[in-house]
Amino acid sequence: MITHDHHSTSGDAISETRPRRISFAEVRARIGEPEDLIKGKIHDRLDRYCRRFIAHSPFLAMATSDATGLPDSSPRGDYPGFVKVLDERTLAIPDRPGNKLADSFRNLAENDGIGLMFVIPGMREVLRVNGRAYPTDEPDVLARMRTEGKEAELAIVVELTEVFFHCGRALIRSRLWDPASQALAEELPSMGEIAIDQMGLDDADPTVLEEMLEDDYRHLY
């Protein structure tokens, strides 16, 4: 087990002088203008390709932000197609049991903007959906999310304003779907070890925490 990571303080010197901030005009000057073809890829409704993508996506990152604009990104995942397409401009995302912090719901109550990034394992391109969202307990929506005999208690309805495919360069560079990349996970201590160190529980046994976590992970619905 790890106690203290001896590399942890070596990068902190940078806090003395912040990296310099540049304007958007300078950013634009560096990266250039997008081609018209790229601008034209943004649509305001789901076509059959977007629907097929969502129907095969088991994972998305959901970004929301609070009234001050402070953002938060939250992972959502289930069987492919767990996000339901209600019509060509409306989606519904089930809310499954989690940590009960309800960060996304609190954000949506203050600021209804939402950004989604859908991912399909093995696919380099991702689908991005932006729009406005609100929570619902509509029975006909929740009924479509029933899994293993359990209904979702809540769902997030997304009224989309833009949808587009995002190119695969980031996923190619990251080797995200290369099975060899999974060896990266071995470079991290276990979550039990991390939790004990983060919470200062020096006497605790990490394997006990890990068993508790594994037991928790068995009840996904």
């Binding site: 629907r51 097929r52 129907a55 095969h56 088991p58 069987y79 492919p80 197609g81 767990f82 006909d140 009924a143 479509r144 999310m145 029933r146 899994t147 293993e148 005999g149 068995r218 009840h219």
Partner: protein
């Protein structure tokens, strides 16, 4: 599991398609009328569909699927995303709705509930029994296989459209029923309820394709003694027996996980089970995805 290729997906009524699945590795497992298969979909969902083709044809299975407005991802996937030519894994057929021998049969089908009834009616006629079918649907256009059935069985088939004629009068059907007849009914919950209210229980066989809403006492933990392996597995109140057994290393198959398909059937040796399924477990059997224990422990053949 058996590997099949989706040879044809074609509309058979408004909102209903039939799928013709050809065995990819030679003849498919045999089946009898009333049987269903699990169909493993590319979106990881497994769904149960009654076989509605010809049992003598060992090369293909036929099923029919209605696009459910409140689809959880099975029928919607089949209707919107499944392409012909794709390989699909299907289970060996199971029969929770077998056709028992009788001199007379009254079949009642509602909408897509016609699927198990199609081969049952043919088998009953071929066996020389007197058989009639009341086939209920909103309108003719929404009723799969209506033409096929009338062509094959003529006046034995009575089509009843509720848009024109309202609900069928099952009480009148029941009054005219021969005491020697068996009644087989498959359809929406409202129709199954009406059949249960009208027909004598000992003559009626029904098939659910959706769990019936039921109330049970709160879950209690119990122990499962596994007679063959000598192991004991604790099932907590939050766990299903299926999950606890699988977590303990037993490999119990499962399909619907809500007590309608029967894939997770296990043999019960001792103890008092609490059956929560909609199949009606035969003596000495239980469906461990939903069923639990009334006694503090159960002994099973594992």
């Amino acid at each position: 599991m058996q590997r099949t290729i989706l040879e044809k997906a074609e509309p058979v009524a408004e909102g209903a398609v039939s799928l013709l699945l050809r065995g990819a590795d030679g003849p498919l497992a045999p089946w009898e009328p009333g049987a269903h298969i699990d169909l493993a979909l590319p979106n990881w969902l497994t769904r149960q569909y009654s076989l509605c083709g010809n049992p003598a044809d060992r090369d293909t299975y036929r099923v029919a699927v209605r696009h459910d407005r409140l689809s959880r991802g099975g029928s919607e996937y089949i209707h919107l995303f499944l392409n012909e030519g794709r390989t699909l894994d299907v289970s060996v057929p199971r029969n929770n709705f077998p056709l028992l021998p009788a001199p007379e049969y009254q079949f009642l089908a509602g909408g897509i509930g016609i699927t198990p009834i199609v081969p049952m009616l043919t088998a009953a006629v071929e066996a020389g029994a007197s058989a009639t079918l009341v086939y209920v649907g909103r309108s003719l256009a929404t009723m799969p296989f209506a033409d096929e059935l009338r062509a094959a069985h003529g006046s034995r088939v009575r089509i009843h459209t509720t848009e024109q004629h309202g609900r069928p009068d099952f009480a009148a059907e029941a009054a005219a029923l021969s005491p020697r007849a068996l009644v087989y009914c498959c359809g929406p919950t409202s129709m199954l309820d009406a059949a249960e209210a009208a027909f004598p229980a000992q003559q009626l066989h029904i098939e659910h394709f959706r769990p019936v809403a039921k109330e049970f006492a709160p879950n209690k933990p119990f122990d499962v003694r596994c007679a063959r392996s000598g192991r004991t597995v604790r099932v907590s109140a939050e766990d299903s027996m299926l999950d606890a057994l699988n977590h303990a290393g037993f490999r119990i198959p499962s399909g619907c996980r809500e007590g309608v398909c029967g894939s997770c059937e296990i043999a019960l040796v001792d103890g008092e089970p609490e059956h929560r399924d909609d199949i009606g477990a035969p003596p000495g059997r239980m469906y461990c995805c939903v069923s639990r224990a009334l006694s503090s422990d159960l002994t099973v053949d594992l």
